[in-house]
């Protein structure tokens, strides 16, 4: 649904949904998501968006953001760009490569669960080539114009992957901005300057 331009939902709202996904009651959550998707389909059909059509579209890739961390979408979206997807645990990672539930015995099902674990492309696993492919895939699927790689301070696996990911993406012509920050509000303006400069570069 977020492939549409204008994006029917903001990155901030989508993030909130993804965050709630972690702890809400599954039945209630499923009902709510269905309702939201109905509304979004409706919006997309009417060409209505959370942002004006033609707003710069960015893909976010990196560390998860737990409630109440809304810092990055706040910074990006108050600078006029919309986040159209998250390559993250608070994004598509949880809903990809779902467990094959065709098994008939406990053993088969347990093996299926294990198989799923081997497909997880979080940076804590290495080597991790799937992650790069996934970022590229999302970039094209959601028609993004740039990628923001987000690393939380002291999350070494993501910080370590940030430079090789940036380099690989840039080699493929995908403009990338690396951001490393924490939960505090003190560096919001500094990050905004970087995001604004990135948007200036993308619009040139």
């Amino acid at each position: 649904l977020r492939r549409h331009d204008p994006a029917p939902i903001s990155g901030l709202d989508a993030l909130l949904i993804n965050q709630v996904y972690f702890y809400d009651d599954p039945i209630r959550f499923t009902e709510s998501v269905h309702k939201i998707c109905d509304e979004l389909e409706d919006r997309a059909a009417r060409g209505e968006g959370a942002f004006p059509g033609g707003a710069p579209r960015l893909l976010f890739s990196g560390c998860p953001m737990a409630v109440p961390n809304w810092k990055l979408p706040y910074i990006v979206e108050s600078s006029g760009a919309v986040i159209v997807g998250e390559e993250s645990c608070v994004g598509e990672r949880g809903t990809r490569n779902l467990v094959d539930d065709s098994g008939q015995t406990l053993d088969e099902l347990m093996t299926a669960v294990m198989d799923r674990y081997f497909e997880i492309d979080c940076a804590i696993f290495t080597p991790n080539p799937d992650r790069l492919r996934h970022i590229e895939e999302m970039y094209h699927t959601y028609k993004a114009q740039g990628v923001i790689h987000y690393g939380l301070q002291f999350c070494q696996p993501y910080l370590m992957e940030s430079i090789p990911v940036e380099r690989s993406l840039e080699e493929r012509g995908i403009r990338t901005l690396r951001v490393e920050t924490d939960y505090s509000q003190e560096d919001v303006e500094q990050l905004k300057t970087r995001v604004e400069a990135f948007l200036e570069v993308l619009s040139a």
Binding site: Q190, T193, E196, E200
Partner: protein, 254 residues
């Protein structure tokens, strides 16, 4: 048609006026703790049709008077390209931050990086060290040029580096040798950032720290090439803002 570009930085404010495509006025003031009133002071008495602001204080100013804003990344790259067409990289060491920008052959920005959360590798580092050696930062560069190489400052952090400098003095090392080592330390941090964004020649060296003769000598030596230093290195941002305004509003007779 006069366009004013203003760069409101952490330590200094620069204004450049462009009239009909030519720079007609350049002025500088300290930011102090009251940037808005400093802006008012520097802008009063100047006539212009349009104002473009960049730097830390750009949004503050835009709330106060009609002004367009652009980031200092864009401003510095525009200013450097006007002064040195064909440049491929810009290193700006300012009062409290350092920026490295790499440019494509067509002049568009390729990558940029900013260090604005740590004093290491910025003008602040040199200012702090100069003070600890009881010297003005304006004289620090020339003093360091009289030093001999051989000392390495290992600490990245400004505070720890000062402790290191004090220890070196206590061990009998000469102040000018320590000063040189401190300059080398600043350069090392800055060049690491510059290499990360892609170092291609010619390199423009801007920002207040480009007035420092020791830094200029060291960077030329390390890169084995002459960097391009503007006459008014700290006004490159303001120039870029004025250029932006000129290109955007230049045909407007308003």
């Amino acid at each position: 048609m006069i366009v004013a570009g203003i760069d409101i930085g952490s330590r200094s404010i620069e204004v450049v006026l462009k009239e009909n495509g030519r720079v007609v006025h350049t002025q500088r003031a300290d930011t102090t703790y009251a940037p808005l009133s400093q802006c008012d002071k520097i802008l009063s008495g100047l006539t212009f049709n349009r104002l473009v602001a960049t730097g830390y204080g750009r949004k503050l100013l835009a709330q106060h008077r009609p002004a367009e804003t652009i980031t200092e990344i864009q401003a510095y790259s525009l200013g450097a390209k006007v002064l040195f067409p064909g440049c491929r990289a810009i290193l700006d060491i300012g009062g409290q931050d350092t920026k490295a920008i790499s440019l494509n052959p067509d002049g568009s920005i390729l990558k940029f990086e900013m260090n604005d959360r740590c004093a290491a590798g910025t003008g602040k580092f040199l200012e702090f060290m100069a003070a600890s050696l009881q010297m003005r930062v304006e004289d620090f560069g020339r003093f360091a040029l009289t030093g001999k190489t051989g000392i390495d400052i290992n600490s990245m952090c400004t505070v720890f580096a000062e402790s290191e400098a004090t220890s070196l003095m206590a061990r009998g090392h000469k102040a000018e040798d320590i000063a040189l080592a401190l300059h080398q330390s600043v350069l090392k941090r800055s060049l690491t950032m510059l290499r990360r964004v892609g170092l291609r020649h010619p390199v423009v060296f801007a920002g207040g720290a480009a007035r420092n003769p020791c830094l200029v000598r060291l960077i030329n030596q390390t890169l084995a090439a002459e960097v391009l230093v503007p006459d008014a290195p700290d006004a490159v941002g303001a120039l870029g803002a004025a250029v932006y305004g000129w290109r955007k509003f230049g045909d407007d007779r308003g």
